[in-house]
């Protein structure tokens, strides 16, 4: 009995420091965030309790809804591109020949560099005066004349999508390759014996057996896109006319540019709830598939 009690204490002794860290630097700030969201706090002070007024204001704030819709559109357009291309690349390169390994390594390199580095790299490539991207497309006769990417919201959106596709397509690739490689080779060989061609093997065996990894990667990727900030801050600065502000960017503007702390806290709470739903889905999927 006593031995078991001391074992309990020992266990908590090891977990304690990390729990304390999370309590102090995550849970306390979270409580502060919720509290501040119920006040009219600004840089000048304030902090009067105003109940749910900030949340009612969010409801009527067209700029916020535009930012949230824009972020959702970005996520909905980008995620299928990343997953589709990542999966296609995985199907192409999953067998471990030297060339295919090398291809995977090179496709993955942009994943490990910073978003600020890749965004500035593409900001340069896409520049209308010195950028090589236009020149290359003109030289290849894809374009008749150079595109000015950052004047319209639509073109700026696609400029960011292109750069991010280059940057993170390797993430899905690596996860999908490991999923495909973990399929029991007997199953695939049996299918070949039964005369299944390449595409029916992909459609009937490989895709169904990697569905879990595909779903989880989609969620991880979608959460990342819903929290996009760096690439828009660097490449578009929200321009033109605030049409490319994302949700996080809009919170940043309210907190650290106009210092509406109470209001931005309410925005942060709303964003946290959106992410929480996606993250809960991810964890539920992980736990359920572990039990299976």
């Amino acid at each position: 009995m006593r031995a078991q009690r001391s074992r309990q204490l020992q266990g908590w002794f090891f977990i304690g420091p990390a729990l304390l860290f999370v309590a102090v630097f995550v849970l306390v700030p979270l409580a502060q965030l919720v509290f501040t969201s119920l006040t009219d706090r600004s840089l000048l002070g304030g902090g009067r309790f105003i109940g749910v007024d900030n949340y009612l204001r969010i409801w009527r704030d067209a700029s916020f809804w535009r930012a949230l819709t824009f972020t959702a559109k970005y996520t909905i357009v980008l995620t299928p591109i990343l997953m589709g291309l990542g999966y296609a690349l995985a199907l192409l390169t999953f067998d471990n020949t030297p060339l295919k390994r090398l291809t995977r390594t090179i496709v993955f390199v942009p994943v490990i560099i910073g978003l600020s580095s890749s965004s500035l790299l593409w900001y340069w490539l896409l520049d209308e005066q010195v950028g090589l991207f236009n020149k290359l497309l003109v030289d290849l006769h894809v374009l008749k004349e150079p595109i000015v990417w950052f004047v319209s919201a639509d073109l700026a959106f696609w400029a960011v999508v292109i750069s991010i596709t280059w940057k993170v397509v390797g993430f899905g690739l690596v996860l999908f390759v490991s999923g495909i490689q973990s399929i029991n080779s007997d199953i695939i060989e049996a299918a070949i014996m039964d005369g299944a061609g390449y595409w029916s093997r992909v459609r009937l065996i490989i895709v169904p057996l990697t569905r879990r990894i595909l779903l989880l990667t989609t969620l991880v990727s979608a959460i990342g896109s819903m929290l996009a900030f760096d690439q828009f801050y660097i490449m578009t600065s929200g321009a033109p006319r605030g049409q490319t502000f994302t949700a996080v960017y809009w919170i940043y503007q309210n907190s650290f540019v106009s210092f509406k702390l109470g209001y931005s806290s309410a925005l942060s709470v709303v964003l946290t709830l959106v992410i929480l739903v996606l993250a809960a889905l991810q964890i539920a999927l992980t736990v359920r598939s572990e039990a299976a």
Partner: protein, 294 residues
């Protein structure tokens, strides 16, 4: 390297199946080569632009540099407080993040993996909380708190934020690493009268080195690259980290973008990540799998 890789790809398939590889093999090889070219081109062009003269880098687009010059790198080296300051800041923040992640996550992972205690799974869920609560949302309260304790414009303050970011993954990974160690080894040590702390230090940690390397690797890369918190917390010219330096170089001193210096600083920011990744690729991929999908 790639030429021999292509040759061996074709070779492997020829010897295995028939004398001539089917056309689909040539197609796959061609696709791989094209994909590698597309993915490597932006980095290659950036590097080439960084080693030409500043005037050429800001002239009409061209594929190959017309001259060789280290002018851009010299400019970045002497930019504002000096490149050494910024690389130093980034390195120190990353090192502190690594130390904090290992110091917190290794014992926590051990406690979670090896002790059957009440409420363990709830504690685990609390430790994973930063994964569900985006740190982007916590930056406002954290900034206000840190301002009171002098942790704004402080490398320690930024390292704390980066540790918040990295801790759930680290705990998850260490728990898995410790759970994979056979119970017999621990039981033998217990019979020998080894205390729990000594078992962690002398038995578990040495066996979990791959896990520790992965934790450190991710902490380094993510801290080195982190942008938003650094943008908010590091406001003084001397406290910038490398990503903030990049943005600052673009703005420059006179309004016009100095493209050569910008590409030089992009190359400098990439090199540490690239070196660490190429050296420890195996750990990176296994960590990614654990973190994202297991």
């Amino acid at each position: 390297m790639s030429a021999s890789a292509i040759a061996s790809d074709l070779g492997v398939l020829t010897s295995r199946r028939q004398r001539r590889p089917p056309p689909s093999v040539y197609l796959a090889v061609a696709a791989c080569v094209a994909i590698m070219a597309i993915m490597a081109a932006p980095l290659a062009f950036s590097f080439l632009a960084s080693i030409e003269s500043a005037t050429e880098a800001s002239s009409a687009p061209h594929y190959l540099p017309q001259s060789f010059s280290l002018q851009n790198y010299l400019k970045v080296a002497g930019y504002q407080a000096g490149l050494a300051t910024y690389v130093g800041n980034s390195t120190l923040v990353a090192l502190m993040t690594i130390v904090a992640c290992v110091a917190l996550a290794a014992p926590a992972g051990y406690g979670l993996a090896r002790f059957s205690i009440y409420g363990k799974e709830i504690a685990f869920l609390v430790l994973l909380a930063p994964m569900m609560i985006p740190y982007q949302a916590l930056l406002t309260p954290l900034y206000l708190d840190f301002a009171k304790f002098g942790l704004v414009d402080s490398r320690i303050g930024l390292a704390i934020v980066h540790t918040i970011l990295q801790l759930p993954f680290s705990v998850y990974l260490m728990r898995n690493a410790f759970e994979a160690i056979p119970r017999e080894i621990e039981e033998a040590a217990m019979i020998d009268g080894c205390s729990a702390s000594r078992r962690l230090a002398y038995i578990f940690l040495p066996l979990a080195v791959p896990g520790l390397v992965t934790v450190a690797l991710f902490a380094f890369i993510n801290s080195w690259n982190e942008f938003l918190a650094a943008l908010i917390f590091m406001n003084r010219e001397t406290s910038f980290t490398v990503p903030i330096l990049l943005v600052s170089v673009r703005i420059g001193n006179h309004g016009a973008v100095d493209w050569g210096a910008l590409q030089a600083s992009v190359v400098i920011s990439i090199i540490p990540c690239l070196a660490v990744y190429l050296a420890l690729q195996r750990y990176y991929v296994s960590g990614l799998l654990t973190g994202a999908v297991k």
